[in-house]
């Protein structure tokens, strides 16, 4: 499928954006330089919790090459507000969440290792670092509470005055009485304790920012590694108070991965923009990986107790969940919605569960803020559901696949007891296909063969569901969202017939420049190389909500479809005048407007030219030009779902786990570009396997980060995986015009329970926590040998 052809929906079109990336011509934020730019280096707290007694900047300010040294007091003096959390959660008793202040630079207290104490701006980064060493900060070290388990305990150190017992909210969802009734009549109860390990998102491009101030226009420009530049501008304008929106341009150029971590509005980009005016120079900051580990928002970090009530046949009667969610030291931009509305609302999984009750306590600790990371709440829900269902199956002696089948939701729409109304799906279809692709029936023979080689082989299932496209706006608003979650698009047809599509979505690896162009190419019947997708610049795109939560297809592309509908409608009017036919007789097909039943017609480009020449239609009735915009607000979430199967082997001598086979069968609804979609699945699986087997952010008892680099934080490598086998099933999503559901997070949601269920199968125990590192697995395997010897 080459660039000069029309690209139908469903074709694996090669990516338009690749040329610049494979030739080194990508333009990431750190690749940009502004004339006269200076470099920022942030002095960070070495303590998890401390009062700042004094900061003496005098010596640092005198160091060679220093342009400015700024602290939280300077920020406060300029009247700038703190960073915000944009989703209000109310506790069970109706009280609003208790959020502590979150200044971009600490004023009197630092609350985690890496917290921002001061910024040094100098001619070069090395000089800024040299000068930072001369900053004299006197700390009064305070007791720290890095451990989630004890943060709410009596006598624990208090991190924010506003949040007694370090508790941000105590929230609930569901029907407690109904769940209690279900347990009262249960034939069997399965219980599980889960720690959902804290992860560092680790996009390969570290965050970066360049702030610039034009004193003539009194306007700021901020280049930054953002997944949602418009939201960044809105927050910096409306809440931080940096500048009015019309005097603040935010540009997110090529962005090297995000996975959620680049949604948020951080201290560093805020400070770079503000400081640019203060020092009268463009100010550039590029995060080092070590800094990213310290202060990029982390993901997950839940402690959960789950109880499942079942009848004697394994039918689920009720589900009760208590989760404590770590927020870190401050509430990050969307932190509060992750363990609540993105988590508890998915606790029904793919199953018809009559009663669910979930309590979530959100807790401050002296650690980096925790916010959305690929999947955001939904991996935590799926992990809990898929682990407890698997455990229940084994306790009841039911095959895990059969157990799932007995409980599947089979009729749609299906209203769950936890807000969500699933609109479409066929869970048995994806399970059946996955079992077939995995040769589930042949597993016992493979296990026996592995045993002869001294390996423990296991197979694990994960039937995940997620809610994507986060919407409609009114619904999320009623749940506490501070913003609407629609999307915008503008389709500009140029006089010569080529097209620019402006979208409020943002691509940082997802391939929007191709998929979105493919959609337009197919719809307008013009070659894909005549379609350019523009995103990531608030001066070009009027507004948009950005890309996260697998929303860009279902919401962002739907907005494009809506704009395309308007373009087509107007073009038809123009064509009708030129062809001297009635508008109702104009058909548009394969890039051509024609009069029904005749051979008279016009190519799309001819109509486009006429729209601008405007000689052949009455401009009193039809405005010249061909450009249409649309805002699209979906009618429901979308519900991608599927079944992943992991087969693995454990070397009991070393505890090494080798994944030997991976099957992914996903239902994403309509797929525009299967090549790109499969790529999203692959990447998600790798991150999910990373969570299951490798990754963990760890703090010690004093709140020092123990896993501060790739020397200690294990990243998935090529060697850690087999080739993945990806299949698809399709049920169309009824709530958007394309029938799309979203694919970006599926792998990361599906993978962790598939791995741990497979390990549980291999090791014969349910007591396996993530990450299941070799040392941990070896200890479990040893215990198994000891147990077997005793039996």
């Amino acid at each position: 499928m080459n660039a000069s052809t029309v690209t139908p929906i469903g074709a694996p079109v090669r990516r338009k954006e690749d040329k610049r990336f494979i030739t080194g011509k990508g333009r990431y934020t750190d690749d940009l330089s502004r004339p006269g730019q200076a470099h920022a280096y942030f002095l960070r707290s070495p303590y998890a919790h401390a009062r700042i007694r004094t900061i003496d900047t005098a010596a640092a300010a005198e160091m060679p090459g220093v342009v400015g040294v700024l602290t939280g007091r300077d920020l406060a003096q300029d009247g700038l507000g703190g960073l915000i959390c944009g989703w209000m959660i109310n506790s069970k008793d109706g009280s609003p969440m208790r959020a502590g202040a979150h200044p971009a630079l600490a004023v009197d207290t630092v609350r985690y290792v890496g917290d921002h104490v001061a910024v040094v701006i100098a001619e070069t980064l090395n000089l800024a670092k040299d000068a930072a060493a001369a900053l004299a900060v006197e700390y009064e070290v305070l007791p720290a509470v890095p451990d989630l388990a004890v943060a709410q305990a009596q006598g624990a150190a208090q991190i924010h005055e506003a949040a007694p017992n370090n508790t941000v909210f105590e929230w609930e969802l569901g029907d407690r009485a109904a769940v209690e009734a279900a347990f009262a009549q249960a034939a069997h109860v399965t219980e599980i304790d889960i720690v959902n390990n804290r992860l560092a998102p680790n996009p390969m491009e570290p965050r970066a920012a360049i702030g610039e101030y034009d004193a003539g226009d009194e306007a700021y420009t901020l280049w930054t590694t953002s997944q949602n530049p418009h939201v960044a501008r809105l927050v910096l304008s409306a809440f931080v108070g940096l500048a009015p929106e019309n005097k603040l341009r935010v540009i997110a150029p090529d962005v090297g991965g995000g996975f959620g971590s680049k949604i948020f509005i951080y201290a560093e980009e805020t400070v770079c923009a503000w400081a640019a005016k203060k020092v009268g120079r463009p100010v550039k900051w590029t995060c080092e990986r070590g800094e990213a580990f310290l202060c990029d928002a982390h993901g997950r970090d839940h402690v959960t107790k789950g109880r499942l009530a079942l009848d004697a046949q394994g039918k689920i009667l009720g589900f009760q969940v208590k989760t404590i969610a770590n927020m870190g030291a401050y509430l990050s931009t969307f932190a509060s919605c992750v363990p609540t509305y993105l988590y508890a609302t998915l606790l029904s999984g793919q199953y018809a569960i009559p009663a669910i009750y979930c309590e979530v306590d959100a807790v401050y600790t002296n650690t980096a803020p925790v916010d959305a990371y690929r999947g955001a709440g939904r991996p935590e829900a799926t992990f809990l559901v898929e682990r407890i269902v698997d455990k229940a199956a084994r306790e009841l002696g039911i095959d895990p696949a059969e157990m799932r089948r007995r409980n599947f939701i089979t009729a749609f729409p299906h209203q769950t007891p936890v807000i969500m109304c699933y609109d479409a799906g066929d869970y048995a279809a994806s399970l059946d296909k996955a079992l077939e692709m995995a040769d589930y029936a042949g597993f016992p023979a493979r296990r026996a063969e592995a045993e002869r080689r001294g390996k423990l082989r296991g197979i694990g299932l994960s039937n995940y569901i997620e809610a994507c496209g986060i919407a409609p706006s009114a619904a999320v608003g009623s749940l506490g969202a501070g913003v609407g979650l629609w999307e915008s698009a503008e389709v500009r047809v140029n006089p010569t017939g080529n097209v620019e599509v402006l979208t409020g979505s943002h691509s940082h690896g997802q391939g929007h420049e191709t998929t979105f162009a493919q959609l337009v190419s197919a719809r307008l019947g013009i070659p894909i190389d005549q379609v350019t997708v523009i995103h990531g610049d608030t001066d070009k795109v009027q507004f948009g909500m950005g890309t996260y939560g697998s929303r860009s297809g279902a919401v962002g592309m739907s907005a494009i479809v809506k704009a395309l509908d308007k373009v087509e409608a107007k073009a038809k009017k123009i064509a009708a005048h030129i062809l001297e036919a009635s508008e109702g007789d104009i058909e548009f097909k394969d890039g051509r407007f024609s009069v029904a039943g005749t051979d008279r017609g016009l190519a799309f480009a001819e109509v486009a030219l006429n729209a601008y020449v405007a000689h052949k239609f009455p401009t009193s009735e039809i405005e010249p030009g061909l450009k249409e915009g649309a805002f699209y607000d979906p009618t429901n979430f979308t519900f991608p779902a599927g079944c992943h199967v992991c087969e693995l082997e454990v070397d009991p001598e070393t505890g090494t786990t080798e994944i030997v086979n991976w099957i992914a069968v996903d239902d994403f609804g309509t797929v525009i570009n299967p090549m790109i979609v499969e790529g999203q699945v692959h990447g998600g699986i790798a991150q999910g396997v990373g969570q299951a087997l490798m990754e963990r952010v760890a703090y010690d008892g004093e709140g020092q980060l123990v896993t501060g680099s790739y020397m200690d934080y294990q990243m998935p490598r090529a060697e850690d995986f087999p080739a993945f086998k990806v299949g698809m099933t399709e049920t169309r999503c009824p709530s958007n015009p394309l029938g799309m559901k979203g694919c970006g997070e599926a792998g990361a949601i599906a993978a962790p329970p598939a791995v741990i269920n497979a390990l549980a199968d291999a090791l014969g125990t349910q007591d396996i926590s993530m990450p299941a590192t070799p040392a941990k697995v070896w200890a479990i395997a040893q215990a198994r040998v000891t147990r077997q010897a005793a039996e």
Binding site: D130, G290, T654, M694, A698, V706, D712, T773, P774, A775
Partner: protein, 266 residues
């Protein structure tokens, strides 16, 4: 990085005199450990003295049945050297699993041995093969060279010139990599010579590379993996960290030792 000066002398005696005359000099070989250390501002040398300009310092030659490897020979060169592969294939195999391909293209045997990182691979080969560390001042047997974590017998103005490895009858190296860093979490080099068996362990010891005497005795009697089954290893001398406790490392040492014996005997 802190600021420093840079020199690239072209003769060894010049290197030695620079080391004696400069403030806080530091030798730069491949730089694969040194530069990350400097980037984190964990060291502040006054001058880096680069050994890359010394002719012949990377030569590899057969010598007395064994091999003499110049200090500046990269891991990649050792891994692919016909001379090394003919004399001591286990040494070439060890070099081939250090770091990653790009690191192997720069990292050197001399740098690795002089740094004596407790998780480095070469120290195990030196100890197990009974290597001779040849310096600008003297010849130091490996048994006298490694002196604990990042400590060696090298004097302040002494430079490693080459390492001489005698040829063993049988040898093999097996390591379990730290899952995150890829350094050795337990690396065991087993070598059998006419004088007996030597077993050197890296990555696991609290004091760096060490010889595992009990295993040597057992294997001298019976060079089989089974002979190691009941050989004790005191876990209290082993490292314990995020990636695994001392017990786990003890287990890894034993498993890697067995696998090395099996590979050597193959």
């Amino acid at each position: 990085m802190y600021a420093f000066d840079y020199r690239r002398p072209s003769a060894l005696d010049e290197v030695v005199s620079l080391l004696g005359g400069l403030e806080e000099p530091k030798l730069l070989a491949g730089g694969q450990t040194l530069l990350p250390t400097l980037k984190q501002r964990l060291a502040q040398p006054g001058t880096l003295v680069d050994l890359a300009g010394i002719p012949g310092l990377a030569d590899i030659a057969a010598e007395g049945g064994g091999v003499r490897i110049g200090a500046m020979a990269t891991h990649a060169r050792v891994a692919t050297s016909d001379v090394v592969r003919a004399a001591i294939p286990a040494l070439a195999e060890l070099a081939a699993v250090i770091g990653d391909p790009a690191v192997r293209n720069r990292g050197t045997i001399g740098g690795s041995v002089a740094n004596n990182d407790p998780t480095a691979d070469y120290p195990a080969a030196c100890l197990a093969l009974g290597a001779m560390i040849v310096t600008t001042a003297r010849r130091i047997p490996a048994d006298e060279f490694f002196a604990g974590l990042f400590e060696t017998a090298l004097g302040e103005d002494e430079v490693i010139v080459a390492i001489e490895f005698p040829r063993p009858e049988l040898a093999a190296y097996r390591k379990f990599r730290n899952p995150a860093s890829r350094y050795a979490m337990a690396g065991v080099f087993v070598a059998r010579t006419g004088e007996g068996v030597r077993v050197a362990v890296t990555g696991a010891g609290q004091s760096g590379v060490f010889r595992w005497g009990a295993a040597e005795a057992a294997l001298t009697d019976d060079f089989t993996a089974a002979a190691l089954e009941s050989v004790p290893l005191d876990a209290s001398d082993l490292m314990s960290d995020l990636h695994g406790g001392a017990d786990y490392r003890a287990q890894l040492v034993k498993v890697m030792a067995k696998r090395a014996v099996e590979a050597a005997a193959r």
